[in-house]
Amino acid sequence: MSDTGFWIVQTLNGVQLSLLYFLLSVGLTVIFGLMHFVNLAHGALYALGAYVSVTVSAVLGYWGGFLLAPVAVAVVGIGLYLLLIRRLRHADHMNQVLVTFGLIFVFTDLFRIGWGDIDLGLEPPTLFSGQSTVFGVVYPTYRLFVIALGLVIMAALALVLTRTQIGAMIRAGVDNEDMAACLGIDVDRVFFGVFCMGCALAGLAGVVAAPVFSVTPAMGDSVLIPALIVVVIGGLGSLRGAVVGSFLVGFIQTFGAVIAPQLAAMITYALLAAVLILRPAGLFPARS
């Protein structure tokens, strides 16, 4: 492999990881921006998406899981919303953090009860198995699919948020909830819709990640921290922030692993600390 080829592949690795982080953190950040709600159970919903897809695809194949897992996670999200989150919307952050922290415990043990302690795997769809040649390098086709899907969803979300009426309503809600309500926007319904969407995206991230990584009860914990870092670096509630944050964290982790593996974990936390000290509300705060 040529030297340029090597760095092209590493760049693709970085893009792929970044977009996976984007799928995971965009729901988290929009839920936070709109509802001021800190959902630590987001990682558990991601794991739920992966587990459901393993079970469903055993019967219906990968694409069955791909379609059904986000739906299933959204349904669970609706249940959580009606049972818990609606009550906590106006509670302080502390209580939200604690309840959703409790949910992590509950979900992790439910995964163990439902799917066992042994780690599972999911095969990529035959359509995207093997390798393809892009930019003169050979690269796993499935990872190209992850990149394409991430970009499509990123573009779709940007369009919805900036060009549609629903997007305007969401932005109004983020900017000033009371004012939006005064203007006749049914804020609660917008919130509900956004929450479901956020959960579905977490579930989608789970299905998409399952063929790349292994499916384990604690898989949610291991992505929760990077996702939170993305959200906080980018600025809570900001789509642009989530994009920039994802790429910063994804590229630091990928290139950190290549250049200085021992420092990679450290650099991510150092970046988070630096951003918080210099720009306490993140790089692109949704509200000025």
Binding site: R112, V212, T216, A257
Partner: protein, 389 residues
Amino acid sequence: MSFRPTTRATALCAAITVGALSPLAAQAKTSVGLLLPYSGVFAALGNEIEAGFTVAMEAAGATDQFDIIKEDTEVKPPVGLAKARKLVLEDEVDVIVGVVSSGVLGAMRDFVHDAEVPLLVANAGNDHATGEQCSPYITRVSFSNAQINRPMGDWLAGSGVKTAYIMAADYAAGHQTMAAFKESFTAAGGEIVGEEYTPFRKTKDFGPYLTKAKASGAEAVYVFYAGGEAISFVKQYDSFGLKDQMGLYSGGFLTSPLYVNAEGPAAEGVITALHYMPTLDTPENKAFVDAYTAKYGKGPSEFAVQGYDAAHALLSSQADGETRGAELSAALSRYSANSPRGPISIDPATNNIVQNIYIYETVAGENGLTQRLIDTVENVQDAPNGCVL
């Protein structure tokens, strides 16, 4: 909602007193502390070892001879140590069986040594435990990291592979396995062209490392990964197309039957060395696999056979009439048998097991993936490495 510690304490005291009385009622029984992870990332391993242990006990009809007290070590060395102390000081067990994580073993080593309580290690492979930190009270019936990986260096060089790139999780087992492989591989004329230690349990995306391995131009990749990391690694290795370019070899649990099917077709062609494979064609193994499958509805793994042999070592010491302390330890370290994994014995110099190492390829079978035996390295024995018993 008030909390009354005094009532609670009384209730607890009562419970503990009752618990302490029961062993008295049956004096003849040997009490065994089963110290395994039942929660956390190693929970599946703990369950397998216990399953193997139970199969052996039931087959021997010896369940009644023992009082078995189970304790969960989680994956936390301090918890493991606290539970070991509890078993010895409160339950006053005669012998402790188990220990999956080397960290837990390291934490409790001095305690069992000083307390002179026999410990039968049923997994933890840290070389030092039967090397410089060996103890007459610690007998290992599982494996050591070097024992599995040293033969692979010779074998791989002998099979014509001249250059290897090595990768392992960045913790003690990763470093020990790689050191053993490196030593024998280079001694046999092989060359290590690059090495990488990835953050343990923190690495999900092996892409960046695999890209480096591919660029190194080595003929083979030699790795040490287990559990979830093994699944991620094998699948990502395949997805990057490395299979056509460089063979994947490992000494250890990369393609353990426990989760090899989660790796899917990506695992086909991977060559690993291990002390057991469920498809060994011996009468002992057939009997074991049948008994295990009949009870649990699935085949055993190498972890199950470790629990099985631990139970048999214990039974054999009982047959010698030894139930406590140094005598029990000595009886355990005299153990030898025709195990499902082939002939095994305990090395009197280190108390580590002496056993065959099987080099096998993972291949597609009728019911998912299975093993094809390539070579057997007989009676692999570790050097004492500073062990004085």
